[in-house]
Amino acid sequence: MTPAASTATAQELRWRCAQPALSIAARHAAALFAVDPVGTGGAVIRGLPGPSRDGWLRHLAQLLPEGTPMRRVPLHINDERLLGGLDLAATLQAGRPVAQQGVLTLADGGIVLLAMAERLPPSTAARVAAVLDTQEVALERDGLATRHATRFGVVALDEGLADDEHVAPALLDRLAFSVDLHPVLVDAAGGPEDDLALEDDLFSLAGWSAADIASARALLPQVEAAAETVQALVSTAVALGVVSLRAPLLALRVARASAALDGRLRVSDDDAALAAALVLAPRATQVPTAPSEPEPNDDTDQPQSPEPEAQSEPPPEDTSEPPPPDDQDESADEPEAEPSVADLEDRVLDAARAAIPAGLLAALMSGCDRRASAQVSGRAGAVQQGRKRGRPSGARRGEPRSGARLNVIETLRAAAPWQKIRHAEAERLRPIHAKPGARALVQVRRDDFHVTRYKQRSATTTLFVVDASGSSALNRLAEAKGAVELLLADCYVRRDQVAVLAFRGRGAELLLPPTRSLVRAKRSLAGLPGGGGTPLASGIDAAAALAASIKRRGETPIVVLLTDGRGNIARDGSPGRVRAAEDVLLAARQFREAGLRALLIDTSPQPQPSSRQLADQMGASYLPLPHAGSAALSQAVSLAARAASGPTAVAR
C-alpha cells in the first residue's frame, strides 16, 4: 500500500486536501506513546473509522520497533480469548491439560487495540485495567491457575458519537492520551497548527522516526524530573478539576517521554507544559480561573456562542487551538532564567488551559458536562444478566431447564477431564456378559451440563405520574391521557414498560402497575377520574417508591411527572399550602437522593417558576408545555425522557 505515491491524480489530490490532517497534538501523542507504551498506558482515539484514524495507527506502527505485536480485541470477546483458558481440542488430544493464551498475554511488549471501545462492557474494561495495573494476567480458569507477566499499551478506538457513549471510566483513567480525530478540514484551516501540518507531507506523517523513538526509549530510564515539575503538574490537575491522581502521574511520565524524545536527560518546562496539554486538558472538569489575565476571558466568550452540546462536532478553528504558549516561548528562544515554582505552575496551567478542547470548554462553561454525567450514571447497572434473551455472556453450571439453553462446548469442556475415569468406571461396571465395544465415545453426565448465560440491556419502564387534581384535571388531564397512550404505543414498539400513577384528593394511587399491555393501560387510563386537591408530595413519594422497586428488579425507571407544580395537600392528607410546600420540598429532595431519571412536564397554562424550581429540587429535567396536544406531548416526552438521563445524574 503506497498512499503517498508520487504520481497522484488531480482528483486524488483534491481528496487528500479534504482529508483531515493529523494535528500536531495527535502526532505528539503517537510519538510519546511509542516512547513509553507501558508507562503512559495508552491512548483513546476518538473518531470514526477513516483515513485519519488509519493514518494515526499506521503512524504509530511505524514508530514502534519492528515486530511489535498489535493485538486487536473485538468488542464481545470472551474471557477465554481475552485472558486465556483451556484449549479443549488440544487437551483431549494430548491427554493432558493444554492451556491457550489470551490476547492480553500475547500482546506482551506491544499494543492492545480495543475496537469500538465506547461499547466495551465494563467487565471487559475492568479486566484490561486490572492487567494494566498488575502487569500480569492472573488466570484462574478451567482448572488452570497461571500467571503470565504482560506489559502493553492500550489504544482504545472510541467511535462514540452520542453524548452517553464513552469509554469506560476505569480505562479512561489509565490511558494518558486522548486524541480527537473528528474531522477538521484542512481548507478550513487558519490555526498555526494546520499551517505546520500542511508543510509536512500529509501522508508521510513523519516528524519522528522509529530510530528517534528507539533512542528515546534507551534514554528514558535516566530522565530526571525536578520536584517543581511534579508540583506544577499536580496543581494544574487540581486547577482543572481533575480528581484522579493517576492523571498527574501519567502526565509526569509523558513529560519524561517528551524529554527523552528530545534527547535530554532532564524534564524541561516545555515538557511539562506539553504533558499538561496532552494529558490533563482533555480531562478537565472545570475551567481554571486565571487571575490577572485577559486571555482566558477571550476563551470564555468565544466558545459560548456555538451550541454547548455540540461536543463531537468540529469546533471552529479559531477557538479550538489557540497558539500554545510553549510554542511561543520556544520561538522566542528565551534563556531559561531559573523560573520559580509559581512561574512554572502558571505556565503549565496556561498550556493546559489553552489545550482544553473547545467543545469540552463550552460544555464546562454551560455547566453541563455531558461527559461527566455519562460517567457518573454508569451503564453497568442497566445491564441484566441471566436472562434467556440477549447476548451470550459466558456459561454457568446448571441444567437446561426452564428455558435455559445448554452450552455444548462448555458442557464438553466440563466433561473432558473425566473421560478417562468414566471409561474406566464404565468398564468395571459393565456386566460380564455384555458385549464390549459399545461404549460411548464421550461420556457426558448430568454434572457436566452448562447453560449459557445471557446478558441483556434491561428494559426501561416509563412511569407516568399524572396530576389528576381539580386544577389540572380541567385543562390537562385529557391531553395527558392521550399522550400516555401514544407513548405507550411507542414503548410497546421498543419493548419498554409503562406504569401510571395518579395523585388527587388525599393521596396517590397506582392506576397501572408496570406493564407492556396496551389494552390494560388504555382501560386503566380511561377510568382515571379527575378533581380534588393536589397531594403533590404524596405523588412524588409514590413515584420514588415505585421507581425504586422497578430499579430493584433490574429495570431502568424513567419518571415523567405531569403537574402544574403547586401542591395544596400535605403528606398526611391535610390541606394547607404551607405544609404542603414543605412536604413537596422534602419529597423532591428524597427523590433526588434516590438518583432517578426524571422529567417534569409543566402542564399549567402559563409556565410556572415554581415548577422549574421543583424540577431542580428533584434533579429532573424541566419541560414547559403550556398548549400542546397529545401528539406534541408524546413526542416531547419521548425525546426528553431519553435526554433526561444526563442532567439527573450530574446532580448526584
Binding site: 488452570l144 490537575a237 487540581v238 498527574p248 460517567q375 453497568a380 447497572g381 454457568r396
Partner: protein
C-alpha cells in the same frame, strides 16, 4: 509484578489503613470493603498488606494450611491426625493474601477435579481452589461490584459458614475456608448487593486527597517507587517494620483487652441511635474497637476506640434515610458526636 508498594508509604487514607490493620489483628471482625474514587491506592493497600502480616504456623503438607494448634476447624486429614494423636510437623508460612481475579471461573474458586491427574492417570483427585488457598488468610476481590452473580452467591455462602463444600460425582470434599474477605471497588461501576455488603465487617470510603501537598506527595512517592522500587522499599523498610510489629503485638495482646460494660452500653446506644439492622453492627463495633485497643496497646476498650471505629463498622448498615442528604458516614459521625458529647 515483582515489587509491592510499601504499606506505610501510602499517603493519608488513614481510615482504610486502620481498617485493614484491625482486620489483620482480629480476623473475626469480618471483611473489609474499600469503596471509592479511582486511583486512591485501594488495591495497592490491600496488596501491600501481605508483606505486613506476621507469619503463621501451619501443618506441613496440608493443602489448607491448617493450624496445628488451637481450636479452629481443620481439614479432614488434620482432624484424623488430631484424633489419632499423631504428632504433626509444622512450619511458618506467610499468611496468604489471595487475589480473586476478574474472570475466574467457579471451578477455580471452589476447587475441582485435578485436570492433570484425571487426564493423564485417570485418577479422581481434588484440586483445591482459591478458597482453599485463602484459608486462614485474606481473599481479595478487586472490582467486587463487577463480580459475577453466581460467584457472589458462592462467596456469601462460604464466608458465612467458613467451610467450602464440593460435591461432584463422588468427589466429595469439605474443607475449612475461613478468610477475611477484602473487597474494593468504585461505586460508579455499580452497587453491591446488600447481602454481600452485610458480609463485610468494616466498610471504608476512600476519597482522593484534596489538599495539594498530599496530592503532590502521592504522585512523588509513586514516581519514586516506579523509578527505583528496591531503593524505595528499602527507604520505607523501617516504617513497614514498625507496622508489622504493631500487628504482632496487637495479635498477642488481643485476648487481654477487656471490654467494660460501659463500652458495651455505648455501642448499643450508638447502634440504637442509628437504627442499624440486627446485632451484627454492635458485634462488629465491639470487636473492631477491641482490635484497635489491642493495636494501640490499651488495656481496655474506651470511648476513643469506639468513636474511631464507629464509621467503618456502621456506615454500610444504615437504612437509607431519604430525609437526610448527608452521606452515611456523616450520619455516623453526627450520632457519635451526639452520644459522646463531641
Amino acid at each position: 509484578m515483582s515489587e509491592q508498594f510499601p504499606f506505610s508509604a501510602i499517603v493519608g487514607q488513614d481510615e482504610m489503613k486502620l481498617a485493614i490493620l484491625i482486620a489483620a489483628v482480629d480476623p473475626s471482625v469480618g471483611g473489609v470493603l474499600v469503596f471509592g474514587d479511582r486511583g486512591t491506592g485501594k488495591s495497592t493497600a490491600v496488596r501491600a498488606l501481605a508483606a505486613m502480616l506476621p507469619k503463621m504456623r501451619a501443618v506441613i503438607g496440608c493443602r489448607y494450611h491448617c493450624d496445628p494448634q488451637g481450636s479452629a476447624p481443620v481439614c479432614e486429614e488434620c482432624r484424623a491426625f488430631k484424633l489419632a494423636g499423631t504428632p504433626v510437623k509444622s512450619h511458618l508460612i506467610p499468611v496468604p493474601v489471595v487475589d480473586l481475579p476478574l474472570g475466574a471461573t467457579e471451578d477455580r474458586v471452589v476447587g475441582a477435579l485435578d485436570l492433570e491427574r484425571a487426564l493423564s492417570q485417570g485418577v479422581k483427585a481434588f484440586e483445591p481452589g482459591l478458597l482453599a488457598r485463602a484459608n486462614r488468610g485474606f481473599l481479595y476481590i478487586d472490582e467486587v461490584n463487577l463480580l459475577e452473580d453466581h460467584l457472589v452467591d458462592l462467596l456469601i455462602d462460604v464466608a458465612a459458614s467458613g467451610e467450602n463444600v464440593v460435591e461432584r460425582e463422588g468427589l466429595s470434599v469439605r474443607h475449612p475456608a475461613r478468610f477475611v474477605l477484602v473487597g474494593s471497588g468504585n461505586p460508579e461501576e455499580g452497587e453491591l448487593r446488600p447481602q454481600l455488603l452485610d458480609r463485610f465487617g468494616l466498610s471504608v470510603e476512600v476519597k482522593t486527597p484534596t489538599d495539594l501537598a498530599s496530592r503532590v506527595e502521592v504522585v512523588r512517592r509513586r514516581d519514586q517507587f516506579e523509578r527505583d522500587p528496591d531503593g524505595f522499599t528499602e527507604k520505607w523498610k523501617k516504617d513497614d517494620e514498625r507496622v508489622r510489629r504493631s500487628i504482632v503485638k496487637g495479635k498477642a495482646h488481643l485476648a487481654d483487652v477487656t471490654v467494660p460494660d460501659a463500652a458495651l452500653e455505648r455501642a448499643a446506644q450508638l447502634c440504637m441511635a442509628l437504627g442499624t439492622d440486627g446485632l451484627r453492627g454492635e458485634l462488629t463495633l465491639i470487636r473492631a474497637a477491641r482490635s484497635l485497643a489491642a493495636l494501640q496497646g490499651a488495656k481496655s476498650v474506651g470511648d476513643e476506640h469506639l468513636k474511631r471505629v464507629a464509621p467503618p463498622a456502621l456506615r454500610h448498615r444504615l437504612r437509607r434515610n431519604p430525609l437526610d442528604d448527608a452521606g452515611s458516614g456523616v450520619r455516623v459521625d453526627r450520632a457519635v458526636a451526639e452520644l459522646f458529647g463531641a
